[in-house]
Assembly symmetry: none
């Protein structure tokens, strides 16, 4: 029973799946049924598995745009480390699954993405330190850890409390990151 409506190029399926995954993971968390992603994409289960053989590869694709946005921000010479923190925090609040994914370092593909984020933060760190906004002994790893902590605490909070908890967490962390005056 061939479906006459479908003669679009197959690459569209992949894109639809990525969009759907972003929405579903944001809504239902990183453990959402993959079925829900396929359904939302209007795509068969088999196609999902063809493009993304496991949950991790799908999650990576879904949140690639998050990292790309960070890259664009960093590429802007006027942006600061604080801007990066803000962006990552907003991304975490929009989809706690993003940080939940980044923290699953068991998978090497995810670890690569984590390092990518850390390198991006590293590019803005010296500027923040020169401006006297961050202690000189703070490392890029510290920056990434701070982001991960905020994301982690948000992911374990009730939806309604997430923003407040994230702000509270940043207040604590900023004082830790900031130099003594």
């Amino acid at each position: 029973m061939p479906d006459p409506r479908r003669d679009v190029p197959p690459a569209e399926n992949r894109a639809a799946l990525v969009v759907a995954a972003r929405e579903v993971f944001a809504d239902q968390g990183i453990d959402a049924p993959l079925r829900a992603v396929a359904r939302r994409a209007g795509v068969g289960q088999g196609s999902l598995y063809r493009h993304f053989p496991d949950r991790v590869s799908l999650a990576l694709a879904a949140f690639e745009e998050n990292v790309a946005a960070l890259e664009r921000l960093v590429a802007d010479p006027g942006s600061t480390l604080a801007d990066c923190f803000d962006l990552l925090t907003e991304q975490s609040l929009a989809a706690v699954a993003f940080i939940a994914m980044l923290n699953d370092l068991e998978d090497p593909r995810i670890a690569v993405q984590g390092e990518r984020v850390e390198e991006l933060l590293a590019q803005k760190l010296p500027g923040a330190q020169r401006a006297g906004l961050v202690r000189p002994d703070v490392s890029p790893a510290d920056c990434f850890l701070a982001v991960a902590m905020v994301g982690a605490i948000a992911s374990q909070s009730l939806v309604a409390d997430r923003r407040v908890r994230a702000e509270q967490a940043w207040r604590l962390l900023r004082r830790g990151l900031a130099p003594e005056r």
Copy 2:
């Protein structure tokens, strides 16, 4: 049809379940199948449900000892806020499910336990502030949040990395908590 494998007194089942739950939750996380707990306790499914009608009541029982240990520590006049942080960190490293549970504030029974921990930390906070080790504007809620953040980051790290990550997290947080000099 008597079961020759069982000759333990019946009431010990509850205790066996608590022990098994602690182990299983530590191993597999707070979402571990309750079946696994029953199996590990050498107990039928029904017994588990008799003693603990839902997952939360089992988790509360499993980690009650953690809070009790904190209470004993706080009761010791010689103990400090830092000692409390150390204990909670060790507990989190031994079973990240402990903090994962405490962060599930949706359930009122758990919220009560969270407040209990926060109150215990509150008892040691003024001393730490008087000693000049903690900023005067740090609240008990900040202390609890710090613990939750460390637990959250540990729970999302590989087992092998947990201790190092927790220490790194505390380094960041302590500077945030400590007064400017």
Copy 3:
């Protein structure tokens, strides 16, 4: 661990179980968990099984009073067949499990009770026929069947509709579908 409160004669347990069974069967239907009966009676599971080895024996005991009430009614020379129908209908509405039980003729003990009811109705049937209220060719089995039908229809109706449906059923049964000739 002996319970000092319990040194009442064992026969009280049986009575408590019968009362509890009547209530529970009325509330939850004939398939109610036997556990609920024991709990309501304030009696151990084992005692329930000692006195009533199976569900049927418990149900028989629970509804023995219903049959006894019918016997008392029939013994009254002033009572009529219609009175019997009314009583049985009220009993059915109070606990549809009563008729559900009576209709489980698979079990010989229940069949005996059914015959007992039929015989009681038989005693009032000739009077009703002499009074010109019931056709001469109606048999005791017909009477019992009518009661069973009303009970059956009540048991398959929503609680709120039962009385109305029972009345509607009696109207049909009394007059029939066919016109008088």
Copy 4:
């Protein structure tokens, strides 16, 4: 790992489930375990739930043919109300679960089917009344109730007795208990 036992086309599963449901519901009643239906259909549990997300939808599908047969009968201008009663009685005897289902008015989907049956009976009622076979004050609801009563009594009788009891019930319903005046 292909399964050599299965080479039927996949879409036949739905049909197999309907057939199996009819058989299982007829055998074991409307409360039969859905597992038994899947097993009898030679189908996985998941397939059953894909096609029929709940018991009611399965039961409706299983007995849809019953209502369809009634519709065909009513569509025949030569058929009478008595024919309809006969058909419904035969259907009830073949599977008492059919009427048990129809009587579960709690579910709106079932209520719709019940009304459908009542409307079908209503179409034949005026003819029967004109022919002097049914009282003029009998309503369609009375007709449906009569069918439900016969089905209910059959469902509560031993398999061997069902036909006799149904006939006895119809005799009562047709003529009534009261004498002609």
